[in-house]
Amino acid sequence: MASLSLQGIQKIYPNGFHAVKDFNLEIEDKEFIIFVGPSGCGKSTTLRMIAGLEDISGGTLKIDGKVMNDVEPKDRDIAMVFQNYALYPHMTVYDNMAFGLKLRKVPKDEIDKKVREAARILDLEKLLDRKPKALSGGQRQRVAMGRAIVRNPKVFLMDEPLSNLDAKLRVQMRIEISKLHENLGATIIYVTHDQTEAMTLGTRIVVMKDGVVQQVDTPQNLYNTPCNLFVAGFIGSPQMNFMDAVCNIKGNDVTLTVGEHVLKVPASKKKALIDGGYNGKTVVLGIRPEDVHDSEAFISNSPDSVITSTIKVYELLGAEVFLYFDVEGTQMTARVNPRTTLRTGDKAVFALDMEKIHVFDKDTELTITN
């Protein structure tokens, strides 16, 4: 397997469209890297540049220390899995997996060895004689993966490989891919717009927007310490709550005022606001739904972070309840215990876990407190 280095990678199309800007990333051997972001953010373009399917307009791409900018795709020792895969309808699973190797004139016994090994890894051994039409969606996707595995590449590139599957199958295949990474010990770069896929699969995640890398970090760090408003909003479901708040600094006391609610900022967060000179300025206060509490014990222990509202929607998901309500015209969500007695139309009191708040600069949208 291999390490990759992307230094100052740019993609400008002949029509002037700047798809990827100054992309820098070092990928270690055996890492599972996820490129995530909304549609059109440049994640697939970056993957295609690594594959050699798009020319690199600027910067340097290295695989295992060798510059690959002008190397033909077939000589880069990579394999790809895409969203729109086609299995050859008249061929068996075995032949579908062997086809690419046959085209490359690999000896028959070697093909047989590789196909059977890939089939074993993917649990396809019993299906090798079947034709694609006799396979389920998940099995077909596994065959598509098998075609990549038999190449025994240095790097696997996957571009939204699960997008065409239904929700249940996607979860199942996610687990399969995760196992595959462990079994193969492969370097995998995986593109998705689905943040759940990103969080569950990746060892590190690259969050992109408008062709620019926003943050590169582990799933946990991205969730706990997002570097800007975009990452904070993109990672996490339901997404983080955001409210405009006015910062007031009096001596060593820092408060954030949201309409009539005054929230006391804890010691761990206030230094950045004092040092940044935010007194009197409007900032964006962010808090995750699970950090908005409705339990009496938490509320009585947090008198300086209480907000009141009326429940607009009550949503029971079994193991948890989502409560939707408005604070100063902004919709908020609380993720609470299903034993909650609150229902739609109830007047509710919540307390925010102020140790978990995120504060962002309203102009630059960058984090102040993380």
Binding site: N15, G16, A19, P73, M80, Q83, A86, L103, V212
Partner: protein
């Protein structure tokens, strides 16, 4: 005298492609040579007349008269009245791997025909199944590109036509897909699939005469028409347009102070006379850039 090796080969080839068995009696090596030439000519003539690929190639490029289409199609067992869609594929080099993959994606029983057009373009004529729509054509186009990317690791761009009911419409479908491929590559180069009916302003510009384009640019930029704009300028303006002329959002995305962005836009105004913060000037600038790209590509050809 016994048949020469070359003559035996030529006779076998004739039988393979036409089914005709010839008996040849020869006395001299010269006669054998003459016979080989004659048989090879026969094979070529037969291929020209009865080869599906040659027939479809001729039809696409308008080389077969309308009155001859149905008869020749029937002779080649091609139903002239099947509903079909044409895909036109371009790659840096269409090698054996690309053809093999396509042949196996659409095996013979699907009645899909692969027709080489040039060294790096290939047409794929596929029957449309009952109930299939243009949305399916788009899905198939994406699947072709993704499969060739995955299996052949080939850079591919592809256009597709409207669904047509008769082979007589194939020349029109070919014109449309050729135009879509050219316009797509020129104006929407970030895409890989170009539907015939999503060419937008690009279709208009592409069909304008060069002199008209040059006059338009002179009108916009004056006598000193720029050859092109630098990447920074184009990048700034494109991002500004992508953000619907929103200064705050663009400066945030470009990581520059809004005053710096305003300064850059003012510099562009000084240079071109167009204040791209105004919708009308922004539209003119966008079209002018497309026309510049078009002229540049015309010059390169």
């Amino acid at each position: 005298m016994d048949l020469t090796q070359e003559l035996t080969k030529a006779l076998a080839e004739l039988k393979r492609i036409t089914g005709i068995t010839l008996e040849v009696n020869i006395d001299t090596p010269e006669a054998a040579e003459q016979a080989v030439i004659q048989i090879r000519c026969l094979c070529t003539a037969y291929k020209e007349k009865y080869n599906k690929s040659d027939f479809l190639q001729g039809l696409m490029t308008g080389g077969i008269p309308a009155y001859d289409i149905a008869e020749r199609a029937n002779r080649l067992h091609i139903n002239p009245d099947d509903k079909r869609v044409l895909f036109l594929l371009e790659s840096r080099h269409i090698d054996e791997t690309v053809s093999e993959i396509l042949k196996n994606m659409f095996p013979a029983q699907t009645k899909t025909y692969l027709v080489p057009v040039t060294e790096n373009t290939l047409a794929l004529l596929r029957p449309v199944r009952p109930g299939e729509t243009e949305a399916d054509s788009r899905r198939i186009a994406r699947t072709i590109v993704d499969t060739l990317n995955t299996e052949a690791l080939a850079q591919v761009q592809l256009s597709y036509s409207f669904i047509f009911k008769s082979l007589a419409d194939l020349p029109e479908a070919f014109r449309e897909t050729s135009l879509a491929l050219k316009v797509g590559k020129l104006f929407y180069s970030e895409q890989t699939v170009f539907p015939y009916n999503e060419l937008g302003v690009g279709r208009l510009i592409y069909q304008l005469p060069v002199t008209l384009c040059e006059n338009f640019l002179k009108e916009i930029f004056g006598p000193d028409v720029p050859e092109s704009f630098d990447d920074d300028t184009l990048g700034t303006i494109n991002r500004f347009f992508q953000n619907n002329l929103n200064i705050a959002e663009t400066s945030r995305q470009l990581h520059m102070h809004r005053n710096t962005l305003i300064y850059r836009l003012e510099q562009i105004e000084k240079r071109t006379g167009l204040d791209v913060r105004l919708f009308e000037d922004a539209m003119t600038f966008k079209i002018a850039i497309m026309v510049l790209n078009y002229l540049q590509s015309e010059r390169n050809h």
